[in-house]
């Protein structure tokens, strides 16, 4: 009897919106190929503007409960995300290697760094307020204090370089601060972020806190920057023209916009990305004057 070669099962790559995996409402997708450009890897959804709006709505809905969680609890959930990444790290490594063509050991190293970076930020959740905020010695009988609060819904545009590590370096500190996000995955290597979505979906992360879209930046950056229910933008891997256009559109509701450019001294693999800066970039400062008296 002739031996039957088992046919592999290909996975449909979907958008991650509000905790569920959907195809684009537009029904559009595009094929992506393994590094080298010949071998078919997957059909990846091309998110539409409607998908973006749905993702913003999901992020807004998730925000209330996420920011209301205790900082300790958010830290626990981030740590759980790292645990799930660790247990499913072979998937991440495979996706990374297939998509980018990096060597096995390089993929392993990037995955390790990504997991460690999530742990790093998990530990920040219940310390941010102490480091960014403080009491103020006002010259009047008031207990006056300044504390950071999450800015709200943050739109994140991820670059192509180190698609796993750069995604983690931007998105995790933003959610550590209590924000919810709508992330546009690396345009060139979207499958890595889709894999992450599948891992996050099996962690304790509430649906809607991290929403992940795959698609064309040229279609989605504009609507993201002008969306009136997006409070801030984290932009990486974009051109100077895109930066300008995004900032022009963002002015309409005075979004907080940060543009992150990696340079030779700070590649995404650098430990320079492990600090409080990105967390603090997406915190609002609230000052309260509480009376002192009888």
């Amino acid at each position: 009897m002739e031996e039957v070669v088992r046919l592999g099962v290909q996975k449909t790559r979907k958008l991650y919106i509000g905790g569920s995996f959907n195809r684009s409402e537009s029904g559009r997708s595009r094929p992506v190929y393994q590094a080298g450009g010949k071998k078919f890897l997957a059909n990846v959804c091309l998110a539409s503007r409607k998908d973006l709006r749905d993702a913003v709505q999901a992020a807004r809905k998730a925000l209330t409960a996420w920011r209301a969680k205790t900082a300790y609890n958010r830290g626990q959930i981030l740590y759980r995300m790292a645990e799930m990444m660790e247990s499913r790290r072979s998937e991440l490594e495979t996706e990374l290697a297939q998509a980018t063509g990096m060597k096995e050991n390089e993929a392993r190293e990037e995955t390790s760094m990504a997991i460690d970076r999530v742990i790093y930020y998990a530990g920040w959740c219940d310390k941010i307020v102490q480091v960014v905020g403080n009491a103020n010695p006002v010259a009047a009988p008031y207990f006056n204090f300044t504390i950071p609060e999450p800015v709200g819904v943050v739109g994140v545009v991820c670059p192509n370089e180190n698609p796993l590590l750069s995604f983690i370096s931007l998105v995790i500190p933003i959610v550590a601060g209590g924000n919810s996000t709508v992330c546009l995955a690396s345009e060139k290597y979207p499958t890595v972020a889709v894999c992450l979505a599948e891992i996050f979906a099996t962690s304790d992360l509430p649906g809607g806190v991290i929403n992940i879209l795959t698609g064309n930046r040229s279609e989605l950056l504009g609507p993201m920057a002008s969306h009136m229910d997006v409070n801030a933008l984290a932009l990486a891997g974009i051109s100077l023209e895109e930066e300008k256009e995004a900032q022009m559109a963002a002015a309409e509701n005075v979004k907080r916009v940060r543009v992150y450019r990696e340079n030779k001294s700070t590649p995404w693999t650098s430990l320079a990305w492990e600090n409080i800066d990105v967390i603090a970039d997406y915190m609002e400062l609230k000052t309260v004057w509480h009376p002192i008296g009888s």
Binding site: P137, V138, A139, V254, R256, L285, K286, T287, W289
Partner: protein, 511 residues
């Protein structure tokens, strides 16, 4: 958003205030003010010497504008011309930025923090020494009561310089474990409502962090900034560290979009703030935006009501309501709405509107004809929308720009006078039943600068404070400021902070 507004509007109709009754019968209250009226107590203006013409302050000297243009500056309380002031054009702004750049590269950034600190301390001290002069000049130029300039604007300005001076040699304590560096040249554009104080808020942290400055005061109120330039000369601050260019919006636009300006700091309207953000898009300039507001001042039934009424009055009528963080929306719990309104009307009758130089005056002149028109237009809109108006009965001077303390009832969350910043002594009054409804109404607005909460219950204060989308929350007080206390907005009220450690962070980069 749209749907939410409609639902609120409906609730509003159900909980509409009963028709406002007039003040309590007079036999219950002895109004001493009517028996013994206040005698005039005018502050002497002798201490101020207003020159016929003011030049630009560039590189430590007063220089005539290359533009050759001057504009008139008036006293808004009597419309008399005070002087003419140089209008900086492109070449002037460029000269000022070049002076600032040179001072930055050659002197200020290299100077040890200890020495920078001493210069800033000097400015603080000289301001204190010349405080009366500043107070009188500010009142003449701005129209705000002398009591406010004397007791608030000037001492608070000096306090800001004093506070930030001490930071100049302690920048390594700004962020734990991190080194910081100045940004370079700061282009700063300030409004007319607190002319000297806004200059202090802008200049003091910038200098402490090691930046140099080009400041553009508002077109109607440049005089105290120019007097500050004299103080800066007396303090022997190195030439070019602070430059002051006067002019209107066009001058401001030239300054913020100058390619050699590294940091833009703006205080003013949200509309202009958005224009600036678009103008500097893609340039990599850092920005601080302190924009408009429409703050909710929330009074609960368990509040100390007399104190709350003082807070309502201070919240909206302080500085003629020309305050970005003014408590312009009173949200009062339904159960005490009637009594609070009655107390408010009674208190309004005792407010003295008139000569800003009189030490008894509570409410001075509106800063400009343009602003007066805007207030009048928006109150007209309120009337057209069916709101019920109440204005203090008082005589207003025939010359100058004046508007009586005013409030509106019968307004909806969707009313324009509830949603738009009026920037005048006009209050809107809404009611609520539950804390959740108060939060919903307070937050359902594009702005998020400040809020007030009045209750005797401390835990309620902190609960409300945590849910209000506002950069500053005052509990059982309003319009309090301190150099150590960060001030700034959420949402369309801008970003960045002024005051405190956080205010300094906006003038440095982290290495």
């Amino acid at each position: 958003m749209g749907r939410k507004t409609k639902t609120l509007a409906k609730t509003e109709r159900q909980t509409k205030l009963k028709k406002v009754s007039s003040a309590e019968p007079s036999h219950q209250i002895i109004q001493f003010g009517k028996i013994w009226p206040y005698a005039p107590a005018p502050e002497s203006t002798k201490i101020v010497n207003i020159q016929p013409r003011y030049e630009l302050f560039i590189n430590g000297k007063f220089v005539p504008p290359r533009s050759g243009q001057y504009f008139d500056v008036i006293n808004p309380a009597n419309e008399q011309k005070l002087c003419e002031v140089a209008e900086a054009g492109e070449a002037d702004v460029d000269a000022a930025v070049r002076a600032a750049r040179q001072a930055y590269e050659k002197i200020w950034r290299k100077m040890p923090g200890k020495e920078r600190a001493k210069y800033i301390f000097r400015i603080a001290r000289i301001l204190q020494e010349r405080s009366r002069e500043f107070a009188v000049l500010e009142t003449i130029n701005n129209g705000k009561p002398i009591r406010e300039t004397r007791d608030f604007d000037v001492p608070m300005s000096a306090a800001h310089f004093f506070y930030y001076a001490g930071w100049a040699d302690k920048l390594n304590y700004l962020i734990p474990g991190r080194e910081v560096a100045p940004l370079g040249v700061a282009g700063q554009v300030i409004p007319w409502n607190f002319p000297l104080l806004m200059a202090a808020w802008k200049i003091a942290p910038a200098l402490a962090a090691g930046n140099t400055v080009v400041l553009k005061p508002a077109e109607t109120t440049p005089l105290t900034a120019l007097l500050l330039a004299e103080v800066i000369q007396q303090a022997e601050l190195p030439p070019g560290v602070v430059n002051i260019v006067t002019g209107a919006g066009a001058t401001g636009a030239l300054l913020v979009s100058h390619p050699d300006v590294d940091k833009v700091a703006f205080t003013g309207s949200t509309a202009v703030g958005k224009k600036i953000l678009r103008a500097i898009a893609g340039t990599g300039k850092k920005a601080t935006m302190e924009l408009g507001g429409k703050a909710a001042n929330i009074v609960f039934e368990d509040a100390p009501l007399d104190q709350a009424v003082e807070g309502i009055v201070n919240g909206i009528y302080f500085n003629q309501g020309h305050v970005c963080c003014a408590g312009s929306r009173l949200l009062v719990q339904e159960s005490v709405a009637e009594i609070v309104l009655r107390k408010l009307m009674r208190r309004m009758e005792t407010l003295i509107v008139g000569d800003p130089l009189d030490k008894n005056t509570d409410i001075g002149a509106i800063n400009s004809r343009m602003q007066l028109k805007k207030i009048q237009e928006l109150t007209q809109v309120g009337l057209q929308e069916g709101a019920q108006i109440y204005q203090k009965r008082c005589e207003l001077p025939s010359k100058g720009f004046w508007y009586p303390p005013t409030f509106f009832t019968n307004v909806a969350q969707s009313s324009r006078i509830v949603r738009e910043e009026i920037f005048g002594p006009v209050l809107t009054i809404q009611t609520f039943r539950t804390p959740e409804e108060a939060i919903e109404k307070a937050n359902n607005i594009a702005y998020g600068l400040s809020a007030g909460v009045w209750t005797e219950k401390g835990s309620k204060i902190l609960k409300m404070a945590s849910q209000l989308q506002a950069g500053v929350v005052w509990a059982n007080t309003y319009n309090k400021f301190d150099p150590s206390s960060p001030f700034g907005g959420y949402k369309e009220s801008g970003f960045g902070r002024e005051g405190g450690r956080q205010g300094l962070l906006d003038y440095v980069k982290i290495l």
